[in-house]
């Protein structure tokens, strides 16, 4: 694998970025470029695949190989890229509509197969490019062009869906958290197998304040908890709160760090039960690597069952001839 010293500029194309001013995508783009520069993989060995939607324009702005495909199918296209050339670093980028609605089936399967792609789910809980309809992650009551009386459908929890699909890596971050997002991209990349990174994102035009205060630095500290492997699950501006896991109910009790530091649960990325409990938590919203438990990835699993080897003409002759032949004249 070729690695060199790179800067975010090495991943920046000459294309004018066409997202709305103030869109969370800008911050994500910035963080992803930073992460890729730090990873040091040559841009020529990196492929960005996307579907349709605002987020899916991502490849045009990354100076790597890129393929902007069709709505919902990027995970399937990315799987094909890995089938033909497992050495490429593949990032699959899409929004909540792309990944969880029209492409929900492909997300399920790319995760269960553990295809070594990095799935960046840019979740703004709204359809942006089609001008503001409720999405599969919109909270009940979301007023939108398609739901003037408020949406009635239960939103899907992407991290829980991923865990249920057999994902071996599930993480969350927030577009504006530039001290966290690049690190999460790098963790996703380091995981051999399918990595789902859900990035909470704001849509300034159709769903401003999409995640109710998550984008305000101050409130975010109260609203979120950054799970770190081997560290106590604390949150708050000064880490004054902590989570105590209750195995009987599968939920958490919020405790005071000063009073009950020893009761605060230590995060373990390999603990599936803990990961599902964190993924379900409405308050605080769990960020960070919720689950990381590596297993043999798709390419390796098939390679050891049916190793690909090129066919030469002698092999072909044997195959063509088969077992039952006769000779004429």
């Amino acid at each position: 694998m070729d690695t060199v010293t790179l800067t975010p500029a090495d991943f920046t194309t000459d294309q004018e970025v066409r997202w709305c001013p103030g869109c969370g995508d800008y911050a994500i783009l910035k963080g992803v470029r930073k992460a890729l520069a730090e990873l040091g993989r040559m841009p020529k060995d990196v492929v960005f695949v996307s579907g349709i939607g605002c987020a899916a324009r991502f490849p045009y702005y990354m100076d790597t190989y890129g393929f902007h495909t069709i709505h919902g199918r990027a995970a399937a296209v990315g799987t094909g890229v890995k089938l033909a050339n497992p050495d490429l670093d593949v990032y699959v980028v899409g929004g909540d509509g792309d990944f969880l609605s029209i492409g929900g089936n492909h997300l399920l399967h790319v995760l269960r197969r553990n295809v070594d792609v990095n799935l960046l789910l840019l979740n703004n809980a709204i359809y942006g490019l089609t001008k503001g309809q409720a999405s599969p992650t919109s909270i009940i009551g979301t007023r939108s062009a398609s739901t003037p009386a408020g949406s009635a459908d239960q939103p899907v929890n992407a991290a829980l869906l991923a865990l249920g699909s057999g994902a071996r890596f599930v993480a969350r971050t927030v577009d504006t958290m530039q001290d966290h997002l690049p690190e999460m991209v790098k963790r996703a990349h380091a995981h051999k197998g399918a990595s789902l990174l859900e990035i909470y994102q704001n849509c300034i035009v159709y769903n401003d304040d999409a995640w109710g205060g998550l984008h305000e630095k101050k409130s975010a500290r109260e609203m979120t908890i950054r799970a770190e492997h081997g560290q106590p699950l604390t949150f708050g501006p000064d880490g004054e709160h902590g989570l105590h896991f209750l195995p009987e109910t599968g939920t958490f009790e919020i405790v005071d760090t000063a009073e009950a530091a020893d009761r605060i649960t230590v995060h373990n990325e390999r603990n599936f039960t803990l990961a599902t409990a964190l993924a379900r938590l409405p308050h605080p919203m769990a960020l960070g690597v919720l689950y990381c438990d590596p297993a043999e990835d798709f390419t390796a699993a098939w390679e050891h069952r049916t190793p690909y080897r090129p066919m030469n003409r002698d092999d072909l002759q044997t195959l063509m001839t088969g077992e039952n032949t006769w000779v004429v004249g």
Binding site: T13, Q15, P43, K44, D45, V47, F48, V49, I52, P59, Y60, D63, T64, Y65, G66, F67, H68, T69, I70, R73, A76, V77, G78, T79, G80, V81, K82, L83, A84, N85, D87, L88, N105, H106, L108, H109, W302, R305, T306, P307, Y308, R309, P310, M311, N312, R313, D314, D315, L316, Q317, L319, M320, T321, G322, N324, T325, W326, V327, V328, G329
Partner: protein
């Protein structure tokens, strides 16, 4: 247009001559009829006869025993010097139960031989088949020769010594019948014996029972007084010298994809989703276990084609396959491959539609979908194999076109071609021409959509190539830089370029030519796909009656090959015969303004040469 359906049952059957024979096996779908048929085909081929088969089975895997809708059949025509069809009507029907007799009697010529398992003619069996009385006793089989043999009982006796249970003994009766048939036609049993031994290696008692049944059926023919006139020796095939084997269309397509891998060095990436009758191709390729071709069973049809598109983008050759309903689901992604100008092969093993239709029956109803069935102006190449063995050549040519012209190629096979078997001369692997995809590695003046002046195809670049980083996608792109462009003039130009690129494929392949018959005359019968054999056979027979009738067969359907108009101008009538309601006919009329007429049949069954012959004769009287 003429519909043959209303005349079904009263057609002039292809008459049996003493150089060929049509045999049909029919029984419960659990009776091993298809196995019986394929073993007969193998032994027939090894005995030096030409042959074509017609497997004819229901979609249900194991319908209730003894019912008419659970009947599976397999027909084979063999002999010499050349066999073009699976036969219009059977000379011999082997019926394993009353339901099989009832549903297949109309496929037997008058005077034909019915071999019926006497042991199956029970009251319950007759009732299940809907017979009020035993047809072998009430005179309803008058006009046929009937041979009642207790296959069930004789098989039980034959296998008794091997110690297998009653259930296994019952399952061996197809081998008993096979033994008798082999005796009738002088076929050698060795290959079938070897097959049984290999197949049932883990269960030697079952192998022994099946071989005992095979030998007992053969011995019955030799010793029982069933009339020596039953035995028949067909004429040998007259074929060019060489090494031969039998292939089904599925075999030939799988071997062809392996040849594409060997001749191109590309990683052939076969992505599909299970569907009848295309799944057999997945099974054949999966057996290669990653040798030359990798297989991927996707979560759905759309994922399958998208993975194939991704594989081609990454520098492999993406191949996807399905049948009509699945191809419909792939339409959007095929449009992406057209827009992104990536090579791709999409095999459509057509079956009777619309919707679920008749999944195991053949039809040519997807031509219009293949040519036009995408959103926007999305031209692609469409080809069709003529015979089972032609699948080999067609898929190799499709790979060459796809990689040279940077386009999806849709191959229209069908349920008949996929399942039917015929002899195939094994090619010399070293003599197969290279397929040389021109991956671009030179960054000098590189733009992803700057075209080759001859083919108008864009360069193919493997991701990972130094100094060639670029992005492609479904959005319209500038004809020079490849960047997103909504410019009106550019869209017109790109639309025209995509169209002209496909048109130029016609310059790279052989022009249209008459398959057989005079250069000019009264009727030119035009076909495509699996109708090749029946149409060729029908035209031959009409010529033998002294008429100037020729046959033209299209392998390239879009773009249409060069030279068609000129050939058409030399015939008084152009008849386009298809197993649909006139889809090629429409294309020809629209593209060439030729006042062609249709001959159409949508029954799920191949044309009978006799029906086509009769139709042509009627036209000649006009």
């Amino acid at each position: 247009m003429t519909d043959l359906l209303d005349k079904a049952g009263s057609q002039t059957h292809e008459t049996s001559t003493n150089d060929r024979m049509v045999v049909r096996f029919a029984g419960d779908s659990g009776d091993g009829i298809q196995l019986l048929g394929s073993e007969t085909a193998k032994a027939t081929a090894l005995s030096g006869h030409d042959l074509i088969t017609l497997p004819d089975f229901p979609a249900e895997i194991r319908a209730p025993v003894g019912t008419t809708y659970g009947v599976s059949a397999y027909q084979i025509q063999f002999g010499g010097p050349e066999i073009l069809t699976s036969g219009d009507a059977a000379d011999v029907l082997v019926a394993f139960n009353p339901a099989a007799l009832k549903t297949n009697l109309n496929t037997v010529r008058r005077g034909g031989l019915l071999i019926v398992d006497k042991g199956s003619l029970t009251k319950r069996g007759l009732e299940k088949a809907g017979y009020d009385a035993d047809p072998t006793e009430d005179g309803s089989l008058a006009g046929y020769r009937v041979m009642l043999i207790d296959v069930t009982g004789l098989t039980a006796i034959a296998v008794a010594a091997t110690g297998v249970g009653k259930k296994q003994a019952g399952r061996a009766k197809n081998f008993w019948a096979l033994g008798l048939v082999f005796w009738m036609f002088g076929h050698d049993r060795t290959a079938t014996r070897n097959w049984i031994e290999a197949r049932f290696k883990a269960t030697p008692d079952i192998a022994a029972a099946n071989i005992a049944a095979l030998d007992a059926g053969h011995a019955y023919g030799e010793t029982a007084e069933i009339g020596a006139d039953i035995a028949f020796r067909a004429a040998p095939a007259v074929r060019p010298p060489g090494l031969y084997r039998t292939v089904t269309g599925t075999d030939a397509m799988a071997i062809g994809l392996s040849a594409v891998a060997a001749c191109s060095g590309l990683k052939v990436t076969y992505c599909t989703y299970p569907i009848t009758p295309a799944s057999a191709l997945l099974h054949a390729l999966a057996k290669l276990r990653g040798h030359g071709v990798v297989t991927f069973q996707a979560e759905d049809e759309i994922a399958a084609v998208c993975a194939a598109v991704g594989a081609s983008y990454a520098g492999g050759l993406g191949v996807t396959a399905s049948s009509g309903p699945g191809i419909a689901l792939k339409a959007e992604a095929l449009g992406l491959a057209v827009a992104a100008e990536l090579p791709l092969i999409a095999v459509d093993v057509q079956r009777a539609g619309p919707s679920t239709g008749m999944p195991t029956k053949a039809e040519q109803g997807d031509l219009t979908m293949a040519v036009h069935g995408r959103h926007g102006e999305a031209p692609a190449c469409v080809m069709a194999p003529a015979t089972p063995s032609d699948c080999f050549d067609t898929v190799i040519e499709a790979a060459r076109i796809a990689t040279t012209h940077m386009t999806p190629v849709i191959i229209l096979s069908d349920a008949y071609i996929a399942n039917a078997a015929e002899p195939w001369r094994v090619p010399d692997a070293d003599a197969l021409p290279d397929i040389t995809p021109a991956f671009r590695t030179d960054p000098e003046n590189f733009q992803p959509f700057l075209r080759d002046p001859d083919t108008l195809s864009r360069p193919w670049v493997r991701p990972g190539t130094e100094d060639m980083i670029h992005r492609i996608g479904g959005l319209e792109r500038s004809s020079d830089t490849g960047h997103i462009s909504y410019d009106p003039a550019n869209h017109q130009q790109m639309t025209d370029l995509r169209q002209r690129k496909i048109e130029r494929i016609a310059d790279a392949v052989a022009p249209a030519a008459i398959e057989e018959g005079p250069d000019a005359g009264d009727i030119l019968i035009v076909g495509w796909g699996s109708t090749y054999g029946p149409l060729k056979s029908a035209a031959r027979r009409v010529r033998q009656r002294g008429h100037a009738v020729a046959h033209l067969h299209l392998r390239l359907l879009w773009p249409l090959p060069r030279g068609l108009e000129e050939i058409f101008s030399r015939f008084r009538r152009i008849v386009v015969a298809e197993m649909n309601s006139g889809q090629l006919l429409e294309l020809i009329r629209a593209q060439l303004l030729t006042p062609a007429e249709g001959l159409n049949q949508v029954t799920g069954q191949p044309f009978r040469a006799g029906d086509v012959e009769a139709h042509l004769l009627r036209l000649l009287e006009d």
